[in-house]
Symmetry: C2
């Protein structure tokens, strides 16, 4: 854990330059707009420790897998979103001396992520070896209005000299992924051009043949006044640039404005992609920096109005929750059904930028409550479009009749995780896909989704569960052998309670959904029956009902808790507090086999199931299981504490709820797990948001009705959050004495507030005492 | 399965050249002498499909591992025995045309592995593009007398022309391992020299810094008459050679004799290793080809006299069993305690040439009964010398107080398998190490071994088992969670019967051994107690007794069989015959997860345990378990059928015994598993030998007494085998009417023959009717 980020409600601030922290800051100060993302690397040359990262959404490479011993069915590749053309580069030279913060003497260094406006700002004074001093100020942003564009305003002021200044704004395709499995270069150059004032370069990914064109157009100002640009174009292999020469006088400020376009072949014809990018950069230049900046501010203001959370009396918590909301919105905007959310978003290479069940289980609830329903819908359509691949994936594993197994890790629908115990066995993810459909419809009321897309997915997943279980005479029920539950600290277990529960639920929900579509849209129903050949090989609905009725979900007789899996109760059940000092986190201190046979749970498993279907369990059941499993859970997944925080809130365990909230809230800002240098924990940020809104706010949607049951952590004076629900936008403000609900929309709403039905009319405020 | 090897009792014969079979033949016709091994690659250039392999015992490289996701405790490297300097190369050029069997027209091709004499012979007629025809005959062997030396006699006869012939005998260090994980070159050149008539080159392995010097000295003959040698030395990077020019007349035969020395820094000072190799090659040349050949014949004759098996009425079986005995003896000779036996011996790269539990469980019984006890003893000393590393290995996994876990795969005592489910969990191997000590002493009567070496190993292994189990109130016994049994088609199971059984046995045997050494050698006992700090942290012997008494070894109530592991009986138990046609072998047709949750057993598991401690179980128990597990076992490990064959013989299941025998006997000669091109299944060959001697021969050693209980497969007219036992050498001949035991030694023996005690005096013959 570290504590170098300055607390501020709207800004992330680093003061003073510590090279040892640079890779962490590069992650934290990342910017993005859903289509591209950029680590907070320096514009100017930097010879110190850095993980350069410029990422373009949806552009990936199928890197060869590494496995100890290849076995039948193993994925052939691990897809990874690539580090792409470095577009931020602006080398700075003063009278022949290169600016490099690793060698210059640096003062007044300040890096700010302005969350309100979506800007990265940096300023410092550098003293070069010659003694010449310059003050540098830079601002950059990836536009959330013109999503192909980014812009950098880079200003150098000569403090104690007059002389020759040169900027070398550049585009560099000599990039590698540090996580390349075999040190391969993934990019081939297709074309490039460099003229005075502009340049462009186009790369193609090997194997996948994506094209990405990157272009810039340049403007120059001295003391804020536009100048004609003097520049030499540079063009060499995988590299284009301009060298811009300026005579600078002491006290003068010279600003280079670099208007950038980054366009991939997901959005442009390959044949003309480079000229498209050049035109886009030129259009940004024509619009101008100030106009782009003002549009960026307005767009972010609109976003914040939909999803801001305020916390009174705890600036660290305030900063953290906004940081999480900012990063979620920088990562995914729901504009393209082909895109999804990697665990690190666009802030690093780890996990390859590809999609996990994190999306359905953690991110979906965030977007469902903070954005237009179409954003969440896109996440569902992404999986619908991959249904064919999920069926192929299951077929490779021996499943038949259109059974689908969604991948554990994917970018294009194909499985690409390379550990068998995850790839083949962590199949509860399939349940996350089906539950997401229910969750979406429950929140939005968009029942039409079922007929249009959802039902086909449900049928295919139900087929998988039906084939994956087997009847056991000895157990007098259906059993499911050889799975890995959410708790990845156990592998290859039998009858994981959570997995069996999701299988049971899916089978029931699919049958209900069939009945619903049959009644509401018989034509489409007939189409789906024909397309899926439903019932063609066996009486599927009857068998699904039988499996759902008879799948084993054992309760442990002595304790009355749900048994995590068949062998769990044989383990030596010691609380996490029994782990000796210095041996935590266990994944860094214990050998893997010791972890596997220990009772320690990496992330909520039975409790994840109870959380998912909370309405089905009474408080006593919840309490019994929480009290049993909570002490065994080590939360070495960043996705875990939020679930425990929410359940603790439900149980009125206020201190525990706040403790678990703290563990997630500033995970990256305080580098809690010593891994922020690899990138931010984007998908867990959704979990942090959930622990405020679902945990402290007590927000639930049950049977299509919004429930609120807010509590106030005693560490806070008050807090507010905004949620969108069925066309309404509510701001909920919780203080020590009252709960205020402001309906900021034109849609009135009936809701359950602390157990009582309330009406909140359009544009009205409802206040109740607490 | 293929059938291209000609049947012959003493020779392996390939007639006709089929490039598609070449890699298979390269494996089958491999030669070796325990210190070096050589695949049957061609001497002359060959541009077709080939796996070149020249291996030097004990010389390895720690290749970086490949794992999907590195976890704490994972090994850092996978050691592999390296492909070393190619010493067989003799390029042949006829009037400017290069001989290459991939491009020449080839007739009368014949490759023979002369098993009686340990020679590889090859002959063919090649017609070059020009129409010139040559007849080639080559003989080569790795001497089992001068173990640093090999020799090649390579003869070319001009059939239809007179002209210029050149030989280019060479030494080539430009070698790679095809299984290099990251395409690395493992060798660096240290020095080289080339003179007329001789050359030498020395390489060093990266990281491990082994040196290997290879040298040759040349002789030339025309029509059998020695000639002065005209040759140009060639020396370039990683390559030395001579170009030998000869004028050849039609009908003349020119022979090049290449005397080779291969010496590693295990046996020579690095500073002088190259001159040592040069001197050794020169000494071989001085001894001369005929003398070396005659010594080779005599040495092999002596070996065969100790361990030959004859089979009457089945030449295919006769050929196969001798092939297995030959390869076992080519791989390991027991002369160096630092060496061991890789699953492929020196015949390929697969499994890295490193040591598995195969050695103790399969190879040890072979050497115990066919060689001087010191050979088997060396295999035990190998593990004793690795005890420190095994203790370190266990410490890395969290074990304390001198507990040892021997590695699953090793060359120097460090673990280097890279799958967690094997490395960390297939811990039954530890039991194989302790049982080997018992087995050795039981066979040889060398009780002194216990005090000298064995007891320390037993204490360390017992400490491991004691810490690896845990008490369970619910089970009212000690349980062992998270293991992989011999059946690698299940992973991470609880209470594997075989593993628990070996733990129990080891704990008891260690206590007995302590008592024995305490009584017989109190001084050494005190030394060992002090060295191991026995009882220093707890009353170890009492606790071991408690664990052994209370470890769970459950019997299944409905069937009365031993339960392979806790979850096994929940599986759908279908016989192997239920696997649909075309889906066998399942490891090539089913995805890994499907295999894991199926009931199918890769190799004997419970039955391996019953086999190991057969004397402890009555026939009814054996029958019950055999009848239950046999139909579930798919034998996709080559180590499995032999155990089933032996137990089937015990039960009088003659057809089954013979069926399982057949599966192993010609595994490589008939390329049964389509993988002989990777190398031979050396360690399984010991299993084949066991199924004849222990299975059909019914040989057991119980309480130090030799038991014989021979049966005669109805497919054979008779058979004989030789075994050494406590100084006696017995030839046992079984025919339809009698069993004849010839004592070919000067040591008389009392034994149990079909249940009756018999005396076989020195040099006497005992015949009984059957």
């Amino acid at each position: 854990m570290r504590d170098y980020i300055k607390k501020d409600p709207w800004n992330i601030i680093e003061e003073g330059f510590d090279p040892a922290l640079n890779r962490i800051s590069e992650s934290i100060f990342s910017i993005g707009n859903g289509k591209m993302g950029q680590r907070a690397n320096f514009e100017e040359k930097y010879s110190g420790n850095s993980l350069r990262g410029s990422y373009v959404a949806g552009v990936y490479y199928p890197d060869k897998t590494r496995v100890g011993w290849w076995k039948n069915g193993y994925p052939e590749y691990f897809a990874k979103v690539l580090n792409a053309t470095n577009w931020i580069g602006i080398n700075v030279n003063v009278d022949g001396e290169e600016l490099d913060l690793a060698t210059a003497s640096v003062a007044n260094f300040k890096r700010v992520l302005n969350m309100q406006e979506g800007l990265l700002q940096r300023s410092f004074v550098a003293t070069l070896a010659s003694g010449k001093q310059i003050e540098v100020q830079s601002t950059r942003f990836t536009s959330i209005v013109d999503t192909d564009n980014a812009v950098i305003r880079y200003t150098v002021k000569a403090l104690n000299f007059s002389g020759k200044l040169s900027f070398t704004p550049l585009l560099d395709l000599n990039v590698v992924n540090q996580d390349s499995n075999y040190d391969e270069q993934f990019w081939v150059e297709i074309s490039r051009t460099a003229e005075t004032g502009s340049a462009a370069i186009t790369g193609e990914t090997k194997k996948t043949a994506f094209h990405v064109a990157t272009a810039f157009s340049l403007s120059l100002e001295i003391d804020g006044a536009p100048q004609a640009l003097q520049a030499e174009p540079v063009s060499k292999e995988k590299f284009v640039a301009n060298v811009v020469h300026v005579d600078i006088a002491q006290g003068q400020s010279v600003s280079l404005i670099k208007y950038v376009a980054v366009i991939s072949s997901l959005y442009a014809e390959k044949a003309t992609i480079q000229t498209t990018a050049q035109a886009s950069a030129a259009a940004a230049q024509a619009k101008g920096y100030e106009q782009m900046l003002s549009e960026q501010r307005a767009a972010w203001a609109k976003k914040w109005a939909e999803c801001d959370i305020t916390i009174e009396g705890d600036v660290a918590a305030q900063q953290a929750i906004r940081f999480n909301i900012l990063q979620m919105n920088q990562t995914y905007t729901g504009e393209d059904e082909r895109l999804n959310i990697g665990p690190k978003g666009f802030t690093g290479e780890k996990y390859g930028g590809v999609t996990y069940w994190d999306t359905e289980a953690y991110c979906l609830p965030f977007y469902l409550k903070t954005a237009d329903p179409k954003v969440a819908r896109q996440l569902l359509v992404y999986r619908y479009k991959h249904l064919g691949r999920a069926i192929e994936n299951a077929a490779k594993l021996g499943f038949k009749h259109g059974a689908a197994l969604y991948p554990m890790v994917t970018i294009n629908g194909e499985e690409c995780h390379n550990e068998w115990e995850i790839t083949f066995e962590e199949i509860h993810r399939n349940g996350a896909m089906s539950f997401a459909i229910y969750n979406y419809i429950n929140h939005t009321g968009d029942v039409g989704y079922l007929a249009e897309y959802g039902l086909e997915v449900l049928i295919a997943i139900s087929r998988f569960w039906r084939q994956r279980v087997q009847w056991s005479d000895r157990r007098n029920g259906y059993i499911m052998l050889g799975v890995t539950g959410p708790n990845e600290y156990e592998n290859n277990v039998n009858n994981n309670w959570y997995t069996n529960l999701l299988a049971q639920w899916t089978l029931n929900y699919t049958r209900e959904s069939l009945a619903q579509v049959k009644a509401s849209d018989p034509v489409r129903y007939a189409e789906i029956v024909a397309k899926t050949q439903l019932g063609g090989h066996e009486d599927e609905e009857t068998i699904w009902a039988d499996v759902a009725a008879k799948i084993v979900l054992p309760v442990d007789a002595p304790t009355g808790v749900f048994i995590q899996h068949d062998g769990f109760m044989d383990k030596e059940l010691l609380p996490m507090s029994a782990i000796p000092k210095g041996e935590y986190p266990i994944h860094k201190n214990w050998s893997w086999d010791r972890i596997l046979r220990s009772c320690y749970i990496k992330q909520a498993d039975v409790l994840q199931g109870i959380y998912t279907f909370e309405a089905n369990y009474d408080k006593e059941t919840l309490k019994k299981n929480f009290d049993f499993y909570e002490p065994l859970t080590v939360h070495e997944s960043s996705l875990s504490p939020c679930i425990h925080s929410i359940l603790a809130s439900s149980l009125g365990y206020e201190d525990l709820a706040y403790k678990f909230y703290l563990r997630t809230a500033r995970l990256d800002l305080d580098d809690y797990n010593h891994d922020t240098d690899d990138g931010l924990h984007i998908t867990s940020m959704a979990g942090t948001w959930m622990s405020v809104v679902e945990g402290f706010g007590g927000v639930r949607v049950q049977q299509g009705v919004l429930h609120l049951n807010p509590s106030l952590p005693k560490q806070w004076q008050g807090y507010s959050f905004r949620i969108t629900f069925r066309g309404a936008l509510l701001k909920v403000t919780v203080s020590s004495g009252s709960i205020m609900i402001e309906n900021e929309s034109d849609v009135g709403l009936s809701l359950q507030l602390t157990g009582a039905e309330k009406q909140v009319a359009a544009r009205q405020i409802l206040t109740v005492a607490r």
